[in-house]
Amino acid sequence: MRLIALILVPLLGALIASGRVLTARRRVTCLLAAAVVHLALTASLWLVPAEPVLGGWLAGDPLGLVVLSLVSVLFLALAAYSVGYLQVENPRGGRLFVSCLMGFLAAASLVVLSHQMGLMWVGLEATTLSMAPLIFHRHDRRSLEAVWKYLVISSVGIALALLGMFFLATAQVGGGTSGPLMVLEDLVSQAPAMSPAWLKAAFIFLLVGFGTKMGLAPMHTWKPDTYGEAPPLVGALMAGALTSCAFLGIARIVQITTSAGLADFIRPLLIGFGLLSLLVAAVFIVAQSDIKRLLAYSSVEHMGLLVLGLGVGGVGAYGTMLHLINNGLAKGLLFLAVGNVVLATGTSHAPRIHGILRSRPVSGVLLVAGLFAVTGSPPFGLFLSEFTILSGAVRGGHPWVAAAMLLLLAVIFIGMASVILEVAYGESDPALPRVRESAWLTGGPLALAAGVLLLGLYIPPALHSLLARAAASLGGGAP
């Protein structure tokens, strides 16, 4: 029941908000209510695990619960931010905006809870579609261009992923089963009997297809344009939640192929895509002067780290699961802080912004904290998760991968710090007087900053055991 409610509650909210019955204020209340109920249901899954429903098509395994918790927490912070945001920038009443936000939450929950791979694919397609009106919120020429690029590239990715799903079904039919097809648990248990050739083909198409949605290099080209033009909370939702859902798609096929004994085939591919993403991110971050596009390349970097952690295996898989949460929280924090800067100054061109710490002290502090969090500096959580991935690489016998990763992370740190510190420090623009910022615009990012800081200092035992079980299902282990 709770599993179905996790999908239906936001879906119902989206339907209610899409009608004309509610006033703008009530609509936002509806959004907040859906976010709170969703988080409460997610929390209840931590306390009392839910039985699979609908013949095993919906279930809450550790891997799914990690992603679900991240999506749910991030969404509540973003829903609170949207109250403040829609007061500042809201060309058309926000009806479509609010209902698409909730529609995304419903689709993301479907992706996370589906243990039937076809159903999961439907959820991923729905997340892609629900994002389009959110990116197009401003209805101007630049956001039109951004949404066109996003849709063309993502739709090709999702189509290739469907072909990968068909390959997976063919592998399962060839394995000689007579029961229902495409249920995750069956796929994992029957994988050793399946044809390795079809499984490899399925892996490649799903990696490229979901990798496109995730924004792994070289399929990342939609990301800078889309993140550059999308409203701040939409960018945060994409970088934190949408990409995590797409990553879960890759994690599922890793589960299946690992069980089939194909780890030696998939790991070099994962490491290759991971390192390439880090390299592309490093090159473009150094030459970047637009702060929102800077965040997009930072997202490419972190997606690279996620697949790299899976590729090195061992404790790397634990590091990846921890990094998924840390990255989601840090991206939410940084996108919202940058969003406040852009709302205040009207530009995202870094050389024209100075002294944010003086003119907008709270957002300025959040911006600097976000910079250090996202670049993996201690004491923030990303330091811990990146270190775990690094030690996974060393222990897994990939010292050169570890060395390349360290070098690229250092370059990325220098590139990001040089841009963001310029924006934060210095004399403030006289045309930008110091004002008190709305609590709605700072509350969400403050909570996210607290979360990512806490995870750097202390990992609760319940979270540790969940992450360890999720890593075990991916063929890895806990440190």
């Binding site: 076809g118 189509a159 072909l163 033009e229």
Partner: protein, 212 residues
């Protein structure tokens, strides 16, 4: 595999080459309409016996791929007054040669992926080559409408491969229809672009304001 389905599948490959070689946009759209029709009747030819699930799949596919999408695209061209030429980034001869390479690659790859059911083996290379040629059209044609044509071909290729599973899991194959939602969004986007006059032309090569 009977004689008729082989003829149908090879005609599907031929329609790919019509799209690659033609200079006229309307010919492209008619070619994918024919392709949709061929793919629509295939499930009945491959699995004779008129099972309700397969008949529904065939009827739905013909309606969507052979009737609705092509007329929607032709309507969009009229509505947005798109110029009738294809405007490729690479020449027609090069396109056709690359198409031939794609078919060769598809057959070579299919050799290494034996189907559990041997009688359907020709679906694999035909599906893969249509996917590759669809991607080729998508990336080498300038106009937004032609890109949509390429996307429909990509989708048709995936559907052709899906037919190997049609008897076992028709529902999974029918999921492909959700990809047509994207096609609908693209076509509406094209029409709305024009109405808003936000772009001078529909060419996505003009979508270059955002660049590093």
């Amino acid at each position: 595999m009977s004689h008729l389905d082989q003829v149908l599948l090879l005609t599907v490959v031929l329609t790919n080459f019509v799209v690659l070689g033609t200079t006229r946009l309307s010919t492209c759209i008619r070619a994918i309409a024919v392709q949709g029709l061929l793919l629509g009747v295939l499930p009945l030819v491959l699995h004779p016996g008129a099972e309700p699930g397969l008949v529904a799949l065939a009827v739905g596919t013909v309606l969507v791929k052979a009737v609705f999408l092509p007329s929607f695209l032709l309507w969009a061209i009229r509505e947005a007054s798109v110029r009738r030429e294809v405007e490729p980034l690479i020449g027609y001869i090069t396109s056709l040669l690359l198409g031939a390479v794609a078919v060769a690659i598809a057959f070579a790859v299919a050799q290494r992926l034996p189907l559990p059911e041997q009688s359907l083996a020709l679906l694999v290379p035909v599906g893969l080559s249509t996917v590759i040629i669809g991607l080729l059209v998508l990336t080498t044609r300038v106009k937004a409408v032609t890109q949509v044509v390429g996307y429909v071909m990509l989708e048709n290729g995936i559907y052709a491969f899906g037919l190997t599973l049609a008897k076992r899991v028709p529902l999974l194959v029918e999921l492909g229809v959700l990809l047509d939602v994207f096609v609908g969004v693209f076509v509406m986007g094209i029409v709305v672009f024009h109405i808003n006059r936000e772009f001078d032309s529909l060419s996505s090569a003009h979508l270059t304001e955002l660049k590093d």
